[in-house]
């Protein structure tokens, strides 16, 4: 037993070392170590220890710790040394197959749009157009290209249909399908947490722990919680400790410290090479036009531009999303994402692998509402390259799970199942009633979860919610919140008699206060 644990640990260490080798942090550490040789406190006899000590006191050890912590958070722990790479992406075969066929459909849709409109997937811009775009870089929103012929490749509800049809071919529970065991839309047997497990998992959200979003309201004197919490936050920032920051934000981030705390957790430091990389992506945008750019434009115009609060950030959204499509470093995340980047072939060379490229270059095809992942971040970050890096990191840690089919506990399938199970178990009457009137709850809550509630909650509430996503490194809170919203409006929902009426009751979430809802649902409801 011990031996297995040891090999597991040493394997993990080996993999992390492998990934950090050759990174800019590695070269910086080497440079620092070499530079320290001139210092008097470094002695030849105790070279190793002295350099280690130097790196500790100068803060470099902390930076290394943060990088390791980041790796641990993002990459899944290795299961077995002999596990094939597909298992890292997604261990269950039927899930992989389902994701594969979904991707085929998306690609087909994209290709047919391409042929219909006779627009190439990519083309080099003429010099005149390049100049024009460069001039207009800070106000691309003023452009009004004709987007009427473009349509989003898919919308969340198309994706929901696919998830509803997921079945595990190895699962046969022998029961006749009846109302007792087929109440919800998701019919796959994944393990999800129940309320006692959630209470334990989200223990920092309990009634006896101070929270921003509850204990900072105007009636509560700030001496009771808020002032101390802010002080602790400032200390965490001074110490530059990622792990501590992640623990800290579970109780919420003070508005003034949030931007820095999130950057610390995501290990984003906006080094010169990062800025340079962003500028490189920008020049890629200037030089080449991609078909997905039109999809991005359309999405921004349809969603964020029409939002009462995010319309102001329209230009930033283009600056982030157009660069994002061209960022090949995003391809790395496909090693742990069940999805596979679509391949395209140079004209005339279909099927020939030497002429295959990933399309779009980052392998991510945007869908209707995609820009809403970026919009809330514009509240916190104003420097384009930093905003870009934060968004990219958020995507490869969290958001990708919301639109790919996998068995991961934070994957959208598990979230849907968690939501339905919570509702079924704790509000069975409501669940049954809604189902009877043809208003399956998941049909309404799905879009909230796919967008991580962006665009549905008021911005300050959304940021408090995303604090907890970062704090717990999990998206399960989205499912819990969705159930809590239904619980909150249960009385009204019991009175409705149609799906449309149920949608109407739940149409406006902008007045909801997220933390009290979560607290009540998890800790104050009699189960």
């Amino acid at each position: 037993m011990m031996l297995e644990q040891d090999t597991g640990l040493s394997l993990a260490i080996a993999q992390i070392v492998q990934r950090l080798k050759g990174s800019s942090l590695h070269s910086q550490l080497e440079r620092q170590a070499r530079g320290s040789l001139h210092k008097p406190e470094i002695k030849l006899e105790s070279l190793k220890e002295d350099i280690k000590e130097f790196l500790k006191t100068s803060g470099w050890e902390k930076r290394l710790q943060n990088a390791v912590y980041s790796e641990l958070n993002v990459f899944p722990s290795p299961c077995h040394p002999a596990a094939p790479p597909e298992h890292i992406k997604e261990p269950l075969v039927y899930m992989r197959k389902a994701q594969g066929s979904w991707e085929k459909r998306i690609l087909k849709s994209l290709n047919s749009m391409c042929t219909e409109l006779s627009i190439p997937l990519a083309r080099k811009r003429p010099i005149g157009e390049q100049k024009e775009l460069l001039n207009k870089w800070n106000e691309m929103g003023t452009d009004e290209p004709d987007l009427t012929l473009f349509r989003p490749v898919y919308a969340p509800k198309d994706f929901l249909e696919v998830l509803m049809n997921l079945r595990n071919p190895n699962y046969e529970n022998g029961d006749q399908p009846s109302f007792r065991n087929h109440l919800g839309l998701i019919q796959v047997p994944l393990k999800v947490k129940d309320i006692p497990e959630l209470k334990d998992y989200f223990s920092e959200l309990g009634l006896n722990t101070g929270q921003l979003g509850i204990d900072d309201s105007t009636e509560v004197p700030p001496e009771l919680f808020e002032n101390e919490h802010i002080r602790v936050g400032q200390t965490v920032l001074t110490e530059q400790d990622s792990a501590a920051a992640q623990q800290y934000v579970r109780q919420g981030c003070p508005t003034a410290l949030r931007a820095e705390l999130w950057a610390l957790i995501l290990n984003i430091s906006n080094q010169p090479e990062d800025i340079l990389y962003y500028e490189q992506l920008k020049s890629n945008v200037i030089q080449h036009d991609l078909l997905v750019d039109s999809l991005i434009y359309k999405d921004v115009k349809l969603t964020a531009s029409n939002d009462d609060y995010y319309f102001v950030f329209e230009d930033y959204l283009y600056q982030v999303l157009l660069c994002f499509s061209r960022d090949t470093s995003v391809l790395e995340h496909f090693s742990y994402n069940s999805a596979t980047p679509p391949k395209s072939y140079i004209r005339g060379k279909l099927g020939m692998e030497e002429y295959a490229v990933f399309y779009p270059p980052n392998g991510v095809i945007p869908f209707h509402g995609f820009s809403m992942y970026v919009a809330p971040l514009c509240f916190l970050y104003h420097e384009p390259s930093k905003l870009y890096q934060i968004f990219r990191e958020m995507y490869v840690r969290f958001f990708f799970r919301l639109h790919s089919i996998s068995s991961h506990p934070s994957g959208i399938v598990s979230l849907c199942l968690l939501f339905e199970t919570l509702l079924q178990t704790h509000l069975p009457q409501l669940f049954y009633h809604l189902r009877e009137i043809g208003a399956q709850p998941l049909r309404i809550s799905f879009k909230w979860m796919v967008r991580a509630f962006s665009g549905y909650l008021a911005t300050d509430q959304l940021l408090l919610l995303w604090d907890r996503i970062l704090g717990y490194n999990s998206l399960e809170i989205l499912a819990v919140l969705a159930a809590a919203v239904f619980a909150f409006r249960a009385v009204n929902l019991m009175e409705v008699t149609s799906l449309a009426a149920a949608e109407a009751v739940l149409a406006d979430l902008s007045t909801l206060k997220v933390m009290p809802l979560l607290q009540i649902f998890l800790f104050a409801t009699v189960t």
Binding site: N306, D315, H382
Partner: protein, 446 residues
């Protein structure tokens, strides 16, 4: 003991008769108010939400009982007309400098340099020549909603404009000084100026070239201040307000594009790419949060304290000239511009802020604003007069600064004084109103 005894002169009435000159949100609110009845054209009224033209024509020869209330002060234009507020602020500033020194007087420097045209033309030219290349904005004193405004950098532009514009009754007086600066008949008499309708007077104002931008867009803030009396000065500040964004990105190169520079919603609505479904407003809470996330809480506190200063100083500057009739109250809409150094500037004060709603959220804000205004006017005689908060309004000035602390022990000299203003804070007015009126209600029953 009846609470109504505290409110002198209010006889218990079966109903409150009101008249309303507008047909927007205020009419809805008045009609829905319990115990209030709309009166026909010639009927007697206890409350009139009038427009300023009625006021001008009828106020002086209308007899009003003690309890009657009307929503404007007779000569509010001392605060709201661009040329008068400039004069009043200049005079007030001089007074402060005499009494409290130069440093204290700088607290009045929140109004961009303004010159009346044509009477201050010479002073304007002097200032203009001292600062070559800066942009100026020409605004008519009496018009609102962004009409008649243009920007210029060259004196030549002003002269050309005057030639092109259709002649007003006194336009020759205006052109003359531009061509013959020493002409003795330049300045129209002060009496003419006081009359709002006849003279088309303008002001030339220094244009703020470095506005604070969000998402590359310029915006201004609309804040609501309710004045119940000038002598003594009693003013309330509403917690809600909004930031109005220009629909297009800000750049100084397009001076002719008035859509960029004028953030009044009324002007925005005529811009070619204006989408009425698209909001171009942020609630001020959202604005406050955005700034806090970007600059930190302390900086934002300072900014909002400076805005409080603008409200109070501007009201103090007209305190002695406005006829403080006890029948009058007024709900002002203040327009504030923030520059890149986070300094707030007063653009103008509106005595008739728009009560037409541009969206559902806007409608609710205005409903609550007006409901709370009527609560403070208190025709029903429910209040004690000692309240520091009513709904979304906080008592900002009561013949002296008002502190958040209970019992008014703190003074501004005392280090821990915290002003009783909550602009951009959470507006839990329903809860507060419930608490406020419950004990009064039960008392009255007894």
């Amino acid at each position: 003991e009846s609470r109504s005894a505290f409110v002198a002169g209010l006889e218990p009435r079966a109903c409150i008769r009101f008249k309303c000159a507008l047909t927007n949100t205020i009419l809805d609110i008045l009609r829905r108010r319990p115990g209030w009845v709309e009166v026909k054209e010639e009927g007697e009224w206890d409350f009139y939400w009038c427009d300023v033209s009625w006021l001008r024509e009828n106020f002086d020869h209308t007899y009003m009982d003690e309890h009657v209330r009307i929503c404007h002060f007779r000569n509010h234009y001392e605060l709201t007309r661009k040329n008068y507020i400039v004069k009043n602020l200049k005079r007030f500033r001089k007074q402060i400098e005499r009494e409290a020194g130069k440093l204290e007087a700088t607290k009045c420097d929140f109004f961009p340099k303004t010159f009346e045209m044509p009477s201050e033309y010479h002073l304007f030219v002097e200032e203009f020549r001292k600062n070559p290349g800066i942009t100026w904005i020409m605004k008519p004193v009496a018009r609102s909603q962004g009409r008649g405004i243009f920007l210029f950098r060259k004196l030549k532009d002003v002269i050309d404009w005057r030639k092109v514009k259709p002649a007003g009754p006194h336009c020759s007086l205006f052109v003359a000084p531009l061509l013959l600066p020493t002409h003795p008949s330049c300045s129209p008499s002060l009496d003419d100026q006081k009359d709002e309708t006849q003279v088309e007077n303008y002001v030339a104002q220094c244009y703020i070239e470095n506005p604070y931008l969000i998402g590359g867009r310029k915006f201004d803030l609309r804040v609501y201040v309710l004045v119940m009396s000038y002598i003594p000065l009693k003013a309330w500040l509403y917690r809600d307000g909004f930031a109005r964004f220009s629909n297009t990105r800000f750049t100084l190169s397009s001076i002719d594009d008035q859509y960029v520079h004028l953030t009044n919603v009324a002007v925005q609505k005529t811009a070619p790419d204006y989408d009425p479904e698209k909001g171009c407003k942020w609630m001020i809470q959202r604005f406050r949060q955005y700034l806090t996330a970007k600059h930190g809480a302390e900086v934002v506190e300072t900014l909002f304290a400076e805005m409080d200063n603008i409200f109070i100083k501007s009201l103090q500057s007209v305190q002695k000239v406005i006829i403080s009739d006890k029948h009058c109250f007024e709900l002002y809409g203040y327009d504030i511009l923030i520059d890149q150094d986070l300094k707030p500037w007063l653009l103008e004060v509106n005595a008739s802020p728009s009560l037409t709603a541009s969206s559902q959220e806007d409608y609710e804000l205005k409903c609550h604003l007006l409901k709370d205004t009527l609560h403070i006017v208190d025709m029903e005689g429910r209040l004690t007069g000692k309240e520091k908060r009513i709904g979304g309004f906080d008592l900002m000035w009561n013949d002296g600064p008002v502190s958040r602390a209970e019992g008014n022990v703190d003074t501004p000299e005392n280090g821990s004084f915290m002003a009783n203003t909550h602009l951009g804070y959470n507006n839990d007015r329903k809860k507060q109103l419930k608490q406020l009126f419950k004990p009064l209600h039960t008392q009255q029953k007894v």
